[in-house]
Subunit: 387 residues, 2 copies
């Protein structure tokens, strides 16, 4: 029977799932566990790739929402900064000491624009995206009010079907407006093709990115003809970075999931037809869960359900086990098929989440482990920063 | 252009989405909004129903995870206490002043059992479920160690297919073991049929609950023959409470979603074939979102995606609008079909989430509104308490 253990005044099992120095076996479940060796290898590998291919890597902080992971990506992966999707999230990174932060998204609400315009005072280069000329005057007014500079990228919808302009004419028109607006600086293009990242086949992904690259190249050239240089041409994700990185047009990658991996991304295939979680990237993120009921001989119930993960991209996969399968997810329970009756009460299983981003977003902590011991407990610093 | 506004030292747009007294129009999105009038009516209506039918109502706190909402349910709905699914969640309610707390789930991990056994010291009657005779000695040892009493319900799997025993023999065997164990008290049965709550048709739901009631009645009678009385026979949800409440066997309802409603529950039909969100219950919970991009004339992008809601039970529905439809959800964006081009940038929409429980679980705050003004800002007190 364990006693309460505390960490910075927080109680294990109530506030935090673990404390540094604890055996991995004593971590309270359900919780997110990071294999620090695998994480560091993934980070270094992508950093090396970017360096070798002459592109910068602005890591996508919206995936992990962690200042600690972002700093590891700067240290081991030569990341030039982070991108993220919300102003409140960007503020977390800036307050945490990240010096170069891109909100790779539109910022339209007046209160959010005002916060964004104050962000340079936190010591961070502040960049956002624009897809509507009507946004320019508001951004400019806020930057002038606070005596700061907001850098702006024109967002191109190169296939994701969300925000972004779809013509070179619109890119040039908005870029010229930004260039002329006090307090703003035109800094380039944002062109992330999110919709193709999860296509299984390498050639299918390449075909989609070829279209994106053509759109971006056309925009870069048209801007050049107007005397507008792109400091940043950003995009690229875990399923496509080699295309953008080799395009000769993009100069900043924005990969996120490569660092942690997940079951949905893991299934996509590389050039040689191998799953990308079988060689290209390692599973570094796990949702640790415990068996809590096993009344039926062929079915175990675990303690990680919908409040410990997102199942939007499919159910989690049980790591390293082919005798058991996670088959159903309800609010607080997972149903595990255990046809041979192998699982014991309190046995711990490592789940590879279906989709890492929204799964990390429901947790407060990452428990970093190495050699069977808890080494670090990191807050999910920007969890809940959705504004 | 707004300035920073603070609330208890928290910054609006960073820490909190709103402050009391603010106009509803100024709430930062995405965030959860409660229509306080509708919430109070739902709470009172269910409380009145239980009272009229001679059953207690132990509200399901796992739905809202809010001490404030639970207290409103005690005050306006005569709730006798709460049930919830996790020990850490139960501790939040006990620390928050709820005096009667049932963990309607199995507790097996030694550290969790120890925490549970300490819970009575927080001033709360402490009840948990048991479905395995091997659990009894551990619970008893922990209660004796701390000099407390844990009340135990035998959990019957009456169709949900998760935890719980499936035979009356098993119920009686475990109940006798609990009755004989120092520090434990046998208090009755837990029999929640979760799997049928969302069946569309009233008659289909009734058929499933008839089976559950028969199992529970058999167990109650067999226990009585052994001299074991059930103080609590608990179960019943928003889609079934009238069956359990009229069964003559159940004496405690455990409804959760009725208070907030959601799109998935709202679709089920009452006895007369009407949707339950069209008369029986009101939508009191909304996910407020703003339009942030509208480059394509027939498609708007809003700021509430997978990190602001769970889509396990389907996409959200846009409240009060039949001209626009939420058609796609990615991490931070929602795609809204707007065939007539009616939506404006920064226009706010009220989404009815697909599934309230895991949606509330990703937010830190409820913003309670009445007559166009923010009246309260309540923490989602047990958010993240998954241990």
């Amino acid at each position: 029977m364990k006693d309460v253990t505390t960490f910075d005044g927080l109680e294990v099992g109530y506030d935090v799932p673990a404390v540094p120095g604890m055996d991995e076996a004593d971590i309270q479940t359900p919780c997110l566990v990071l294999d620090l060796d695998a994480l560091e290898r993934n980070i270094k590998k992508m950093g090396d790739w970017a360096k070798e291919h002459g592109v910068r890597h602005r890591v996508h902080g919206k995936m992990h929402k962690s200042v600690d992971v972002a700093k590891l990506q700067e240290e081991l992966g030569d990341a030039v900064g982070v991108c993220c999707q919300k102003v409140s999230e960007a503020e977390v990174f800036a307050r945490g000491g990240i010096k170069d932060v891109l909100v790779s998204n539109q910022v339209r609400d007046p209160a959010k624009i005002d916060r964004l315009a104050r962000m340079p005072k936190l010591g961070a280069r502040t960049i956002c995206c624009v897809d509507d000329i009507d946004n320019v005057a508001d951004l400019s007014a806020a930057a002038q009010k606070h005596g700061t500079e907001i850098e702006c990228l024109i967002e191109i919808d190169c296939g994701a079907g969300r925000c972004g302009v779809t013509t070179t004419e619109a890119v040039v028109e908005i870029a010229k407006a930004i260039d002329a607006a006090p307090g703003l600086k035109f800094s380039g293009l944002q062109a992330y093709q999110g919709a193709m990242q999860h296509l299984d086949l390498y050639e299918d992904r390449k075909a989609k990115i070829d279209i994106a690259v053509a759109m971006v190249r056309d925009a870069v050239e048209a801007l050049k003809a107007e005397g507008l240089e792109c400091d940043i041409v950003g995009g690229g994700g875990t399923g496509s970075y080699y295309f953008e990185g080799n395009s000769g047009v993009y100069n900043e990658l924005q990969c996120g999931s490569y660092a942690f991996m997940d079951a949905d991304y893991g299934r996509i295939l590389d050039k040689d037809g191998n799953r990308i979680d079988q060689g290209e990237w390692e599973n570094a993120l796990f949702l640790l869960t415990s068996v809590m009921s096993h009344v039926k001989p062929d079915k175990a119930i675990c303690d990680a359900g919908l409040k410990a993960q997102s199942v939007d991209s499919g159910l989690p996969v049980i790591y390293g086990r082919d005798d058991v399968e996670y088959v159903k997810c309800s609010d607080e329970h997972g149903v595990i098929s255990d046809p041979e009756g192998n699982l014991e009460i309190n046995e711990k299983l490592k789940l590879v989440p279906g989709h890492c981003d929204p799964t990390c977003n429901v947790h407060d902590w990452y428990v970093g482990v190495r050699n069977g011991k808890v080494e670090v407990v990191w807050p999910v610093s920007a969890r809940g920063k959705a504004y």
